[in-house]
């Protein structure tokens, strides 16, 4: 039910931005970009203390007239920004939190993809999260990411098949270590269940 979702790289350039009202995309780009001011400030305020126990969820960033902007930062300083319609009172803090957590999981799946080069813009046919929910029964009832491979960058000319992957022996070795991925096959093997 978010209006716009953005994944921002550590260096503050956008990795992924998608918004529902596509006609006014630029406005959301600006909104996400300006919200980074607050994210930066919050991150620097957090300081270096207690890196392990740090809260990843940053809470409400900007109170604008029509939208609410929420932020989330991973341990590798990748930022997630979500823009929600102000009029939508159904979304409480807890819902926002869980949306972020799911977004984080999806992002982790993208990072697990051996064909994805960390730092490249994420070009996925599939939204990491559905930006709007037209269907009744919760914002995520329609999400069916059938396979992790669906999140592959579409532009990549690599064939997704067992033969082309021979060179990479284990995808676990390719995981970014700083990201809070649970190492073990069970949590990541079926991301659909998580959603």
């Amino acid at each position: 039910m978010a209006v716009c979702i953005a994944v921002i790289a550590k260096e503050n350039y956008p990795l992924y931005i998608r918004s529902t009202p596509t006609e006014n995309e630029l406005k959301f780009h600006y909104m996400v970009h300006t919200s980074l001011d607050v994210v930066d400030e919050k991150i620097s305020a957090m300081g270096k203390a207690l890196v392990d126990q740090r809260e990843l969820y940053l809470g409400l960033l900007y109170p604008t007239e029509d939208y609410k902007v929420y932020g989330y930062v991973t341990n590798s300083k990748v930022k997630f920004v979500m823009v929600v319609d102000s009029s939508n009172t159904a979304l409480r803090d807890n819902e926002i939190r869980s949306m972020f957590r799911k977004l984080h999981n999806s992002y982790t799946d993208v990072m697990c993809n051996p064909f994805y080069n960390p730092g490249d813009r994420i070009q996925s046919r599939w939204a990491l999260l559905p930006v709007s929910a037209s269907s009744p029964g919760g914002p995520y009832s329609r999400v069916r990411i059938q396979s992790r491979w669906a999140l592959l960058p579409v532009s990549d000319p690599v064939q997704v098949g067992p033969t082309s992957c021979v060179r990479i022996q284990s995808r676990w070795a390719l995981l970014p270590v700083s990201d809070p991925v649970q190492v073990g096959p069970t949590p990541v093997s079926d991301p659909v269940q998580g959603l």
């Binding site: 503050n12 780009h29 300006t34 001011d37 400030e41 109170p63 007239e65």
Partner: protein, 1158 residues
Amino acid sequence: MSPTQWDLPVELCCRPMAFVTLTGLDVVYNAVHRAVWDAFCANRRADRVPISFKVLPGDHEYPKCRPKRTSYEWYIPKGILKTGWMNKHLNLVPALVVVFYELDWDEPQWKEKQSECATRVEIVRQSLQGRNTKVAVVLIQKKTPLPPGEDVIASERAAALCNACELSGKSLFVLPHTDHLVGYIIRLENAFYEHAQTYYYTEIRRVKSHKEFLNKTTHQLLFVRHQFKIAFFSELKQDTQNALKNYRTAYNLVHELRAHETNILEIKTMAGFINYKICRLCFQHNTPLDAIAQFRKHIDLCKKKIGSAELSFEHAAWMSKQFQAFGDLFDEAIKLGLTAIQTQNPGFYYQQAAYYAQERKQLAKSLCNHEASIMYPNPDPLETQTGVLDFYGQRSWRQGILSFDLSDPEKEKVGVLAIQLKERNVAHSEIIITLLSNAVAQFKKYKCPRMKSHLMVQMGEEYYYAKDYTKALKLLDYVMCDYRSEGWWTLLTSILTTALKCSYLMAQLKDYITYSLELLGRASTLKDDQKSRIEKNLINVLMNESPDPEPDCDIFAVKTAQKLWADRISLAGSNIFTIGVQDFVPFVQCKAKFHAPSFHVDVPVEFDIYLKADCPHPIRFSKLCVSFNNQEYNQFCVIEEASKANEVLENPTQGKMCLVPGKTRKLLFKFVAKTEDVGKKIEITSVDLALGNETGRCVVLNWQGGGGDAASSQEALQAARSFKRRPKLPDNEVHWDSIIIQASTMIISRVPNISVHLRHEPPALTNEMYCLVVTVQSHEKTQIRDVKLTAGLKPGQDANLTQKTHVTLHGTELCDESYPALLTDIPVGDLHPGEQLEKMLYVRCGTVGSRMFLVYVSYLINITAEEKEIVCKCHKDETVTIETVFPFDVAVKFVSTKFEHLERVYADIPFLLMTDLLSASPWALTVVSSELQLAPSMTTVDQLESQVDNVVLQTGESASECFCLRCPSLGNVEGGVATGHYIISWKRTSAMENIPVIRTVITLPHVIVENIPLHVNADLPSFGRVRESLPVKYHLQNKTDFVQDVEISVEPSDAFMFSGLKQIRLRILPGTEQEMLYNFYPLMAGYQQLPSLNINLLRFPNFTNQLLRRFIPTSIFVKLLGRLRQENCLNPGGGACSEWRLRHCTPAWATEQDSVSK
């Protein structure tokens, strides 16, 4: 209506203060009155009571009070709040009228004066006409009053005056015009303030009393009005808490009113006023969160109350004003000490105000697009008779009409049209820009750089709409780099598109080209058709033609722009633009790469320039030149368009000068480095690519260093991180990402083709002339010239080594301190191919330890590289580490004549000095000679001849010498007596004849000398024979200056019979000697103990036999009597005796010397 109709009225925004009028003061002509007035108005700071004063004549007409209404039953209010009401109570109706009157208590004409004063008070009362306004009298007196109660006349007359004027005693004041005027005035003020508060209190009571007559059906407006009045009076009373409470009630009442299209503006206006008051008071009470909450509530309630659709821009204007007013209030509170935070600061409100102002503009644009033929209606429906409205927020053409249906739709239409036409003249952009710049200032303060940039973009766009293209460009250009550096390409593209329009409309050539370059580049997210349009335009511009207009531009502006472009074209000169690409992302990328990190000077330096275009169509460049830190190379690295004739023939897509989109073009450059640059770095300082040609327009893209623009460093990082496999490309094509810029290379000297060998026999010995043989052989194909040799201690080692190491070419003489540690540039001459050369070096090392020696051979050779003859300097160096060791160890010891170890020697008594030379050298040493140089305090007993001349010592062998010395008595010397020096002259056995010998001087240790009272020595043959007389003579010398009594006794021994004095006591004179002769007769063969001689000195009880035994032998070897002895017996006598006496001290070590010389 004024253009500022949305501004809040001044009387609403000011701080309400009690209004007090002063009468009877002649401030123009009376100095005393002037001073009093000045004291009232000067220095009104926060600590003075909040009163606003005004001087009025005594007969001033105050606003008339309307007759009191007895019943509200038939009264229908025409609006909420009259426009004049607030001003009336702030500036027209006083809370207190003060009558000033000059009167002293001891006035002689008291009666007349009193009645005049009473008349004045009466006049004031008349003009107030039934208002509750208080009246007070101040008597200005010349004398200082006495303390109360003492002046009887004063109290009497005061009571009389009060009576005459119908005043209470509390309203009569005395102002002595003396020194302490200001103090009196302040006291007066406080009294006035109390009166004013009472007045406002009664006013509040009066308004409240109306409430009971009101009913909810017809008097809803009055509820709001009364509540507002109560709150306003409370504020005048300075009771802000109650004021806030009443305003809040009023606010709720406003929203309870029935809203309709006809009265919505009035409701919103009032709601805005009350909201403003509430927020203002909340900030004043230092509860900013309440203010913000109230404001949010206000906005939420009013947001949807748009009113008439035809005038919806009015709603946007009103909203904008609400935000702006709140922002102003917030900002003011911050100036008074409130602290704001990043996410809650006035900037947001200004931003929102700007947003609504933009919306107002949009709405106005769509609603007010009347044709020019429509004239402004006449008579003006917006004009009123008085020029102002009666009630706040009503329409001028239907004032006071409360009915919800429009009585006169025609009139309404004309009114709306009038408002719309007025709106058309509003300078919206100006309003928006002001608000945005306010917001920018705030966000700058609260660390929101990105928000600031965003607002600046909006400002720039607004300037663009306002047709102020110069300012628009300036702003956009300023923020562009922020978006570029953070890689927000979509945003950058949108900004660039606007900037391109601006530069087109102003016909700014350079800007137009720069923005086009970037919009064509890879950072742009434009679609291909857009890109090809821009590229076409760019090519047009380069051909010195006008570009097509940008889409969505104002038609009139385009026309002006086309004229400007036409002027530009006709204008000659300044057609070359150099654009540095460091700060943006152009559509041509460039990378320079030297083939190697270093080049030998005899091979040509080669490097590639890679170019890649990102534009949709191929593009030609006219020139490419590369600049280096050494500008002499620039001329070799230029590619220029061939002549015009060639150009026609060349296929444009195949040519070298054409960049095909997406393909990497590689251009190879080659030059021969100068020999002077050997050891230096050659750096590419810039690459210049010229697009277009000089006949049209020429754009030179300038890359600093080896290429790369604003985005390339991030891309390079990303490419380095990538583990993606790149698809194979045909040969001679490369992946752009895989090219790594290498903008500098080292020029190093040519590889030498000679061999340098060192021949020596390590280790070196201390102080030796160590021989190092250097062999240089040329393997070059041609003759080498100017061969020079530098040899010696390698620089950069311990400084002490430099002083203790000396190098020479001549081994025949010993070198001293003046010789250097490093011999530089010894000319050796020329060498033919294959020729060999040998050079001997001699090194003298003064200290032990390891040293690094350097041998450096340099030469010149002629070489042909790239058909150019160059002279190369080559060099080769060899280093060797040489250990220096001591050649030998020398040990020295003192022994007695009996070869017993001596810790000290006795004066005048001979002793032996033994030296021991132990060779430590791994090579054989020849001791050429040795010499003992005695100190003056020592004398020798026999000749000091060297006993080790020309002895050759192998490793570990030693050579010893022994010298018999005597030390004359010197008395007691502290630390012993110097012995002298021992000098050894030596050389390596393998060294050549002409190599000088080395003299090593060893300082001998000092020896402790002691005096002895009596010295005994014995004359004794070296051996005895059984049964053969053995004469022994003991010499007793007195070494003291006294006569000594000596007791001597000889103890008998089993092995000997003897004759001589067995026990004797005798005296020895100072310095003389006594001889004692004994004849021993050995009885047994073998090593036999002699009969021991006991000497007892009476003067020196310490002198014991122990000491004595050091000097005299205690045993003797007795031989058997053989045949030879019998022969010898034939020939007895003193001769034999004299023979062994001569050799008495040599036999023991003669054997040892044999072992040494072996």
